[in-house]
């Protein structure tokens, strides 16, 4: 009875906290009003986007859309690969249904939070100091930066898996690593790949970091075009990115269906 009332108390507290946060957030919200200039500017932007600057697609001297996309893919691919490998031990050890020691789980969760909180730009700075500006630094920054996100998402999804298969492995006397390989991996593999591919996509779009880092790729021209409001240029770059991401989606779908 006492335990139950404690649970109710804690639940009420949780609900009240969330409720309070919402009330606080919505209080003092200004009214939405549309600006007079909006039609003119938005239509200029949209019409610009829909008249992409085809001339930028290919330029014999290099430094065109195709080259930018290629560089971006190379950086994103390698960055994702590094992150994909580094995140595995973290996600495993931060899942509270795999590792039972609270301290280990807690430490790993903390580490993941810390990596996530660490701003991309500071990470970029660190690697620029180490290896100089350029694609290499970009790969390292993306590779390390993504560990926080992947580790969290994957460990969360490990925590939600069906444990019955795991039981069978426990019963055969498998140690945690073997259990992980045989009972957990096959179940989280689809999620793992989908997170990895999502991260790959994020990395392709990580224009800001790559722009800061001088890594080349499509990010810097995109930022430049946006800041001087060259919508035709923005349009063609976005088109390029969308086409590329769609292609990657298709290819990765094929790969995924093979691996899982």
């Amino acid at each position: 009875m006492k335990r139950e009332s404690l649970i109710i108390l804690r639940r009420t507290f949780l609900i009240l906290t969330v409720l309070f946060i919402y009330i606080w957030a919505f209080i003092g919200l200004p009214n939405i009003e549309l600006k007079e200039t909006s039609i003119e500017i938005v239509s200029a932007i949209i019409s610009g986007l829909f008249q992409p600057d085809w001339g930028y697609v290919y330029d014999p001297a290099g430094e065109d859309l195709l080259r930018g996309l290629l560089d971006t893919v190379a950086i994103a691919l390698l960055g994702t690969f590094i992150a994909g490998i580094l995140c595995i031990p973290f996600s495993f050890m931060a899942a509270n249904n795999i590792v039972k020691t609270k301290a280990i789980v807690g430490t790993n969760k903390f580490m993941l939070s810390f990596i996530r909180v660490f701003p991309d730009i500071v990470l970029a700075l660190l690697f620029i100091k180490a290896v100089g500006p350029g694609a290499f630094a970009g790969v390292l920054a993306l590779g390390i930066g993504a560990v926080g996100m992947l580790g969290k998402l994957i460990s969360d999804s490990i925590e939600g898996i069906d444990l019955s298969a795991r039981e069978a492995l426990v019963a055969t006397g498998a140690n945690p690593i073997k259990i992980f390989m045989f009972a957990v991996v096959p179940q989280v593999l689809p999620n793992f790949f989908s997170f990895i591919l999502y991260r790959f996509e994020v990395n392709v779009r990580a224009a800001t970091v790559l722009g800061v880092i001088g890594a080349g790729g499509i990010g810097t021209p995109l930022i430049f075009a946006l800041s001087v409001r060259d919508w035709e240029r923005v349009g063609i770059i976005l088109l390029g990115i969308i086409v590329m991401i769609t292609l990657i989606d298709m290819i990765s779908g094929k790969i995924r269906s093979r691996l899982t």
Binding site: S164, E167, A171, G173, A174, M181, P186, Q187
Partner: protein, 291 residues
């Protein structure tokens, strides 16, 4: 006990049962026998307050074929799972061959568990993996962690797995994903996994629940054979009284988490089962008779 176990086979089972027909003799024998699995004052209370087991004291000898019977929810699965510590008991201690599994840790615990095969009530297959991989997973206890991370099973293991699948008539599905199997086929994969494990004790939680009579017979014969030929101890939860009578050397009756019967098959009369399954059964029968 070992020798006795080996000489009995098939119909010979009856003779062995006769030997134990005297309850007193039975208990005396077990006291001097090699105590394989020992339950001392074991209780289990689930976090939500349900009582799973209540002060269980049992000893099971090498080579026995124990069948556990009881109503749904009586605690049969709980008892079985506490043997290899799939669930942590709340009180008491369980030891296997003199080693306390309750206190075992790390590699010691893994080794003890490796020697205990388990067939699960709800199969516990990795649905996304192939049948073969599910069966091979019974072998992981034998190899180094690194090897297992790379998924490198020796050739013998694969042959062993195929062998186990043959025994349950499922070899043609070896490379099919487990979720594409029928219910009975899934159960057979789970049995093959336990066979491939080459354990010294096998815990079987309703191993034939989803099987047709033919496969049931095959599986039970298989369990009996490995019990007798390899002197492997069997602890099996069964719902079928007929099967229990046919294969067991000893029957343990559970009710509400307590042992209400424990003795050789011969002692388990119809009245015994009636008392295990509670008064309801009698009431129910009376009702029907009244109509």
């Amino acid at each position: 006990m070992d020798i006795l176990g080996k000489t009995t086979y098939g119909e010979g089972r009856k003779a062995v049962n006769d030997l134990f027909s005297d309850g007193l003799l039975f208990t005396t024998l077990t006291k001097v026998g090699k105590r394989l699995i020992q339950f001392k004052n074991v209780s289990k209370i689930y976090p939500n307050g349900t009582i799973g087991l209540k002060n269980i004291n049992l000893q099971i000898e090498d080579g026995e074929f124990v069948v556990i019977v009881g109503l749904s929810g009586a605690g049969k699965s709980t008892l079985l799972r506490s043997v290899n510590r799939l669930i942590e008991i709340s009180e008491g201690e369980i030891s296997i061959h003199g080693e306390s599994i309750t206190k075992a840790k790390g590699n010691e615990l893994y080794r003890i568990r490796r020697d205990i095969g388990m067939i699960f009530q709800n199969f516990n297959l990795v649905k996304r993996s192939s049948v073969m991989r599910n069966v091979l997973s019974g072998r992981v206890g034998y190899h180094s962690t690194l090897r297992m991370i790379l998924g490198l099973f020796p050739k013998q293991d694969k042959e062993l797995a195929i062998e186990a699948l043959k025994r349950v008539n499922l070899v043609e599905k070896a490379y099919v994903r487990a979720d594409q199997l029928s219910g009975g086929q899934q159960q057979r994969v789970s049995i093959a996994r336990a066979l491939a494990q080459e354990a010294k004790i096998v815990l079987a939680d309703e191993p034939v629940a989803s099987l047709d009579p033919l496969t049931t017979k095959q599986v039970m014969e298989d369990l009996l054979r490995i019990n007798q030929e390899l002197n492997i101890t069997m602890i099996v939860n069964l719902h079928s009284i007929d099967l229990a009578r046919e294969y067991a050397t000893r029957i343990i009756g559970l009710k509400d988490g307590e042992v209400v019967f424990d003795g050789p098959v011969i002692e388990a009369t119809n009245d015994t089962f009636t008392s295990i399954y509670g008064q309801d059964m009698r009431k129910n029968e009376m009702k029907r008779a009244a109509k």
